[in-house]
Amino acid sequence: MLEQWMYIGIFMVVAMMLPSIAIIIAGLLSPRRPNPIKNSTYECGIETVGPGWPQFRVQYYIFGLVFLIFDVETVFLFPWAVAYNRLGLFAAVEAALFIAILAGGLIYAWKKGALRWL
């Protein structure tokens, strides 16, 4: 029992050491020639516009939440679809229930106006 925990301990120490050593060595060996372009924020190669701390519309958050309904649905339905032939009627009913519950969430969000862009 205890030896197995020791392996986990060793693993954690090594896991923490490897990246820190890599970062320290890179910091020691790399040449440093900074210029304004290098120091600017990297944004997919496009020139940065404005400061990095703007306010986002809070509605993005609601959309993110609604998206989660479809996201979770896919995660569970893909394995179900793959094994559909072997699972039989019970799993089909379960999946229908699952979709019905998620649809309830979607109807709620829809009627509350979460899908309307203000």
């Binding site: 029992m1 925990w5 019970f90 519950i101 309830g104 109807i107 709620y108 009627k111 509350k112």
Partner: protein, 480 residues
């Protein structure tokens, strides 16, 4: 998986499905017709109550050992459904009056009740955690239901942060128990302890962490700091529901854990739980003495009552285990009835903007509204434990169990604490009847019904305490 699995947790399913239905139905209800959502929720809870009463306790497990449906869990199902019904009665008029009528209140309340019921059914540490989160998360949201009120926001944030913190304790405890026994199923844990393959040190650490986590939920001292602030800031009908039901759910988990899972650790855990009980009784009652706000007063009172209940929890690992569980269930029911009644009076007396909650505001209320006044008198006497009330029998049975299992010190502290508590409970009555004031209360049929009905129940059920204890004694736990 068969139909029997679903039948085992039928009351839980009924309540949760109603919750989803109410959520969807609510968005189609026009403003001002939200009473239909309350009605639907009430019907769902009544159906859940019926399912719990009609169900036959089984000795097996369901869903591959994840849940049980023994007498204990069915008893708690009925208790939670009944408390939920009263909780809806408290809420309906209140939110209409406060212009905050929203169907989400009932949906979240139903989800929380579903979680509490599941807590009684749990037979796997993961189920305990799932039930804990299912009952807590809706309560975090409901505490902040008055979005515009600063105290309500503070209550929600405080409850959420400390609740999440206590969930962390539970989770770490589960991990430790798993580390010690290589199982998270109660059967597996008990088997590992029995055949000696368990590492008792890990198991003890895990059990202690679990006790800490659930002690947060039942607001035992020194894990009580959130209670007064949350109870004060949350909407009053929710506080009434929360203080009755959440406590019962926390004790449900503690009883099953200490009685079924950790009997081998009885000697190690008993002193800890005894200490918690003594501290909770003393601190809860002493701090309540100086409260001037009725909600804070009842919050400390609920802490004090958790202390009395903890005495029973100490006795759970003695030879009087069956009596201890029965006495605790009896006490929980008695406390829930008196507590919901007392909160119905608080809800009736509360004015807009959170005024009408100081003891001063209760001046003269009893003479102006004799029914409410007499009802409040009954609840306060029951809280003290005066004979002829349900609270008296609850305390009598608990202290008797304490004496049977040799816990003389705790019984003495409990009796002394009850005497001290008479001061602050009777102060409420003194304000209501013997002071002149402009106190006003809401005349609402549901609130009056709850106040008078609970008062009648507290007095009438005290006439047949033996039969009630018999019912509680039949609510036995399944021991693997």
């Amino acid at each position: 998986m068969s139909i029997n699995d679903f039948l085992a947790i039928l009351p839980v399913l009924v309540v949760l499905v109603t919750g989803v239905l109410v959520m969807v139905a609510d968005v189609f209800l026009p403003e001002g017709r939200k009473g239909i959502a309350a009605l639907l929720s009430g019907l769902g809870l009544a159906a859940g109550l019926g399912a719990a009463l009609a169900a036959v306790p089984s000795t097996g497990t369901a869903f591959a050992g994840m849940v049980v449906a023994d007498g204990f869990s069915l008893f708690l199902d009925a208790l939670f459904a009944a408390v939920g019904l009263v909780g809806i009665g408290l809420a309906y008029d209140y939110f209409k009056r406060m212009r905050l009528q929203r169907g989400e209140y009932y949906t979240l309340l139903l989800f929380s009740i579903g979680g509490m019921m599941l807590m009684g059914h749990a037979n796997d540490l993961v189920m305990f955690f799932l039930a804990l989160e299912l009952l807590s998360i809706p309560l975090y949201i409901l505490s902040g239901f008055f979005r515009a009120r600063l105290a309500s926001q503070e209550a929600a944030l405080k409850y959420f942060l400390l609740g999440a913190f206590s969930s962390g304790f539970v989770l770490y405890g589960i991990a430790m128990v798993f580390g010690g026994t290589a199982s998270i199923n109660l059967e597996g844990i008990v088997a590992a302890v029995r055949d000696g393959s368990a590492n008792l040190t890990f198991l003890l650490v895990g059990a202690a962490l679990l006790v800490v986590g659930f002690a947060f939920k039942v607001s035992a001292v020194p894990f009580h700091a959130w209670t007064p602030d949350v109870y004060e800031g949350a909407p009053s009908p929710l506080t009434g529901f929360m203080s009755s039901a959440t406590k019962a759910a926390g004790f449900a988990a503690l009883i099953r854990l200490l009685l079924v899972v950790f009997p081998a650790l009885g000697e190690n855990l008993a002193p800890v739980v005894s200490g918690l009980a003594a501290l909770t009784m003393i601190a809860g009652n002493l701090i309540a003495l100086v409260q001037t706000n009725i909600k804070r007063l009842l919050a400390y009172s609920s802490i004090a009552h958790a202390g009395y209940l903890l005495i029973g929890l100490v006795a759970v690992n003695s030879s009087a285990a069956g009596d201890a569980v029965a006495a605790m269930l009896f006490y929980l029911v008695g406390y829930a009835i008196a507590n919901l009644g007392a909160w119905s009076v608080v809800v009736a007396a509360e004015q807009a903007e959170g005024r009408g909650l100081e003891l001063e505001d209760y001046s003269g209320l009893g003479r102006k509204y004799p029914w409410l006044g007499v009802a409040m008198l009954v609840f306060m006497l029951s809280f003290i434990g005066v004979p002829l009330t349900l609270g008296f029998w609850g305390k009598l049975y608990l202290f008797r169990v304490a004496l049977e299992s040799g816990l003389f010190g705790l019984a003495v502290i409990g009796i002394a604490a009850s005497l001290v508590s008479a001061y602050y409970y009777l102060r409420v009555v003194v304000y209501m009847f013997f002071r002149d004031g402009e106190g006003v209360a809401r005349r609402d049929v549901w609130l009056n019904l709850i106040a008078i009905g609970s008062a009648a129940a507290v007095v009438l059920m005290a006439l047949v305490p033996g039969d009630l204890l018999q019912v509680a004694a039949q609510a036995v736990l399944r021991v693997p």
